[in-house]
Every structure is written in structure tokens, then in C-alpha cells.
């Protein structure tokens, strides 16, 4: 699955990352998968947490969103939607992902997947890949995905400056 860059952003502050999370919270719907790429400290969990908390807040719910590094998968509810937050760093490969039940969640739940390279060829074709890279004091973000995402990302300009 190789896609061109659909969009680039520069997030200057952690609050910019929160704003991107809030934008996603308004945009995402059941069946969407975000593949969050980037090294340790790139802001993957920060972005996922901002999304989950914003989605829950819209339905009057609030929960802690701990890092999923140890538990591998944390699930949440936000109104009618189920959210799966996964960190596959400690997973050996695609075979083990099957045990987590992630494949059943793809296509129905909102799935936020950190270290998605562990999925191998099993990554959903329709997923949006979000690549985070630390850059000086801020973060660079690049989006890759199939054509429908180009339209959906059109209103992203309101979040942060293009990079």
C-alpha cells in the first residue's frame, strides 16, 4: 500500500497537537483506521489521547487514556462508536495481531494504531497513515492515504499551518 503525501502540517506546540486531535474527533467515524507512525516521543500517544478524550467529551464521557504500551490494546466507548487504541511495538508480527482481535475491529470501530508496521500486509487498505516526526521544538505531520482522504483532509487547514 503506497500512497503519495496528501498533506503536510507543522505543529509548533503540544496545543497544536491537541487541536489536530480535536479535528480528527469531529471527522472520524466507525470503520476508520488511523496508522500512527513515528519513533518514541514523536507524539503518537499524545495525538491519540487528544482524539479519544475529545470524542468522549462530545458524548459526556471522560476516562483516563493511559498509554497502551503495556496492555497493547485499550478500548473506549464514545456514543455509538467503539474506539480501539493499540500499540503494537511489543507485538512480534502479523500472526500475533490476530490474537488481539484487531482485525475484527477494523471496518467497524475507530482504530488508532501505533507501530502499524507490525501489521505487515494486513493493514487496512482504506486506512489513513499519519507520520509524526519531531522537528526542533515542534512536530512535522505527513498524511498518506487513498483518494477519499484527500477530500476529508481538506478542512485541515484550520488546524495548523501547512508545512
Amino acid at each position: 500500500m503506497q500512497h503519495d503525501v496528501l498533506k503536510r502540517l507543522f505543529l509548533t506546540t503540544p496545543e497544536d497537537t491537541d487541536r489536530l486531535g480535536h479535528w480528527f474527533a469531529r471527522t472520524l467515524r466507525g470503520g476508520d483506521t488511523l496508522l500512527l507512525e513515528g519513533g518514541i516521543g514523536a507524539g503518537k500517544t499524545h495525538l491519540a489521547r487528544a482524539m479519544i478524550q475529545a470524542m468522549q467529551a462530545r458524548h459526556g464521557r471522560a476516562e483516563d487514556v493511559p498509554s497502551p504500551t503495556f496492555t497493547l490494546v485499550q478500548t473506549y466507548e464514545a456514543g455509538p462508536d467503539e474506539i480501539w487504541h493499540a500499540d503494537l511495538y511489543r507485538v512480534g508480527g502479523p500472526d500475533e495481531v490476530i490474537e488481539l482481535g484487531l482485525h475484527d475491529a477494523f471496518g467497524t470501530a475507530i482504530c488508532l494504531v501505533e507501530w502499524p508496521d507490525r501489521l505487515g500486509a494486513d493493514a487496512p487498505e482504506a486506512a489513513l497513515k499519519v507520520r509524526l516526526t519531531p522537528d526542533a521544538e515542534g512536530r512535522r505531520v505527513e498524511f498518506f492515504g487513498a483518494a477519499p482522504w484527500a477530500d476529508r483532509l481538506a478542512s485541515l487547514a484550520e488546524v495548523a499551518a501547512d508545512a
Binding site: 518514541i40 516521543g41 483516563d64 493511559p66 504500551t69 496492555t71 511489543r90 519531531p134
Partner: protein, 363 residues
Amino acid sequence: MSRTLTLLGIESSCDDTAAAVVRATGDPKILSSVVIGQTALHGSYGGVVPEIAARAHAEKLDDCVSEALDRAGLALGQMDGIAVTAGPGLIGGVLSGVMCAKGLAAATGLPLVGVNHLAGHALTPRLTDDLPYPYLMLLVSGGHCQFLIVEGADRFRRLGGTIDDAPGEAFDKTARLLGLPQPGGPSVQAAAAEGDPGRFRFPRPLLDRPGSDMSFSGLKTALLRERDALVAAQGGLYERDRADMCAGFQRAVTEVLAEKTRRALAEYLCLAPRHPALAVAGGVAANSSIRAALDAVAQWAGAAFVAPPLALCTDNAAMIAWAGIERMQIGLVDDMTLAARPRWPLDNGSAPMLGGGKRGAKA
């Protein structure tokens, strides 16, 4: 206490598989405690490899249970009950533990007791030190960090905890960022011993906020930036840089934990406990710098400081057997409807709120 109870405990909610036999008389005894871990796999991987497959857990559980009984020199029929971790944790592991316990309970007619993994940790100071209720518990491990007032075998009040990473995870990730071996706790502590904690000033998030919530995620990002700045400036990291970074990191974690413990203690002391005590459990309690700081805070507050031995601080089944005994003693027994609960907050009472206020129970 009441009559003598001997329980088999089963734990498979995390990365390890374990079984143990504990007997409660006047002075509780651990008759056996078996843990099959994953330590051998750490080195090459840069992290603890989780056992995801339920089937693998189930196979190891059979071995653990028979070895725990052998070492205790007792037969299954000589138990008074079977305690099992029913959550929170990895679903495959929790499920296989619960299925195993149900099978044994059905075969023997013994009572089945479902235990919350975190309650197992939180009640351990009563097994090791016979600590009276209520005591303040800091549960600080790879996946957890929270302050609990332990008021009874099934009464826990959460005062606060991490809103993002747990300190154990921060240690592991610091080790990863600096090319130190896993698990990160011991290797970061060893490097820090050679370093200057004053050279790098890492952030202490939420330190200026009231309450006992903590945040450790920003620390990791700050460390990454310092590392990258040095690599850019001098083409790599010297041993000295790495030691100084570890020392600065460890000092930041220690100061945050100490200050938040001070506040949690103040809140706990409002209950006017007759024998005030601060207990610490979890792998992070093995860090000598953190341990010394917490000991000092407890002394300052006039509270006893209790840290169970490391083998009982990390995941084990003796704590599950003990928590099962405590539950049986107050009549809390489950039946075959016991369900595995991947998410199971210890304290459902403290409602979470958005913003800077108190957060709800996690996991």
C-alpha cells in the same frame, strides 16, 4: 483472624504466568510461588515480549499450578478455594486464567474467588507486614501508577495517578532512547549512578498543580530533544552524556513521585489513621533513589514506610491467593458466572472529570 484458609492463586493477566499456594493462619505463609516469565527474551527485543496467545497461557498455567502444588506439598483437594485474576489485563491471558480456575473449581467443588490484579498488589503489604487498614498505597509499575487509600479487602479510594505514561514505562522508553538494555529500570539506574543530575533540567509536569495526579509523557519528549540536540552538535552521545541524562531523568521522576506522595499523604492523614503507613508496590519501588525519597517523605509525615520484597512487588500469584483469602474471610465468593474483565477500575466511586481536576480510575 478467623479459621485457617489455604488458597491456590492463579495469575496470567500480564506478561507472566504464575501460580501460588498461600495459607492464612495467625501469620500468613507463602507455601509456594511459581512464576514463568519472559525475561530470557528481553535482550534482543528492546522490551518485554507479551504472551498474547491464550493457548500458550493455558499450557503454562497447567505447569504452574502443578508445580505450585508440588512445592507446597499439597494436593488440590487440600485447598479451601481457588483465587484467580479476573482483570484488568491482556484479554487472552485473563481469559485463560479464569477458564483454568473455573475448570479446577468445577472439578473439585472448591469455592472460586475472582480477584482484581491491582487489588492483589494493593493488599500485598498485609500479607508481608500485616499492615492495618487504612493505609496509603502507591502502586507504581510498568503499566500503573496510582495512589490508593486501602480501606478494606474490597474498598479502595483512588486519590490520583498518572494521566499518561506510568513511570516504569518511562524508564523502559528512556533506555530505548539512549540505547541501554531492557528492562529499563535497572539499566537507567546504573547509568544514573555515574551521572550528574544537575546538567539536564527535565520538566516536572503537573508539579505546580494541586492534587496527586502525575504526568510522565513529556519527560520522554524532553529527553529525546536533548539527545537529538547533542547528536546534532557533536555527532553522537558520549558515555558521560548518557549518564547525565539518566541522572537528570531519574531525579525528575523521583521529585515528582516524592512531591505527589507528600500531597497524597496529607489527604490520607486527614482520616486520622491510628497506625499511619505508606506502602509502595510495583517494580519501580526497586529503584533505590525513588525508594529513599519515598521513605523520607513517609518519615516527614510520621508514617511507617513499607515496601514488600521485589518478588512480591512484581507480578506473582501469591498476592492473588492472599487477596482471595481476604475476600473469602469477608464472605466474597464468586460462582461460575465469573467473567474476565480486561478493564476493571479498582475504584468506581471517584468519577472522572475533564480538565485539570481529579481523574477517574484507570485500566
